[in-house]
Amino acid sequence: SQQGEEDPQALSIQEGENATMNCSYKTSINNLQWYRQNSGRGLVHLILIRSNEREKHSGRLRVTLDTSKKSSSLLITASRAADTASYFCATDDYDYKLSFGAGTTVTVRA
């Protein structure tokens, strides 16, 4: 089934630095979404980008989508300790479900 795969698996950065993570998927999608999961908590939706969009911004988040390469990236600028979490991409491929990858674990060091 359709799956997003995040890269890298883990990322450790200093507070104030930018964090970039990538997602690749296999087949055509309706939209691609990014979620954050803090330790022991549920997933929180961050941003949704549709297949006809190339870039989207929300606060310190910037998402790009390249449908020709079947890939997306999430950039978090000026990271904070509170950004420490796991980040997941999820693809919506027209079939009543979101397909998730295993996520990127981001640690922001003070």
Binding site: S1, N30, N31, Q33, Y35, Q37, G40, R41, G42, L43, V44, H45, L48, S86, F88, A90, D92, Y94, D95, Y96, K97, L98, S99, F100, G101, A102, G103, T105
Partner: protein, 112 residues
């Protein structure tokens, strides 16, 4: 007010037992889901319901039976629990099938 709430948050039980996890959403959404997150954080869809109708059953063993008494509730009943069922189970809902999903806080199931 909690948008998507699951109970219980933690569940420890012995192999062979039957257990249920309840989920309720107060967002008025038409679509609800159950996901399973394993120890490596990989999230996999189990079931998808739209207006109380089962849309997706993603090759889940028959021991797992979802029940949607109304649009706001989607419960998960598990029979004859096995060690491999240990995981975190998430309920989620969305207004439409191509929009963001709202997740509950998860139920950590441990089978001993």
């Amino acid at each position: 007010d909690t948008a998507v709430s699951q109970t219980p948050k933690y569940l420890v039980t012995q192999m062979g037992n039957d257990k249920s996890i309840k989920c309720e959403q107060n967002l008025g959404h038409d679509t609800m889901y159950w996901y399973k997150q394993d120890s490596k954080k990989f999230l996999k869809i189990m079931f998808s319901y739209n207006n109380k109708e089962l849309i997706i059953n993603e090759t889940v063993p028959n021991r797992f039976s979802p029940k949607s008494p109304d649009k706001a509730h989607l419960n998960l009943h598990i029979n004859s629990l096995e060690l491999g069922d240990s995981a975190v189970y998430f309920c989620a809902s969305s207004p439409l099938t191509d929009t963001e999903a709202f997740f509950g806080q998860g139920t950590r199931l441990t089978v001993v």
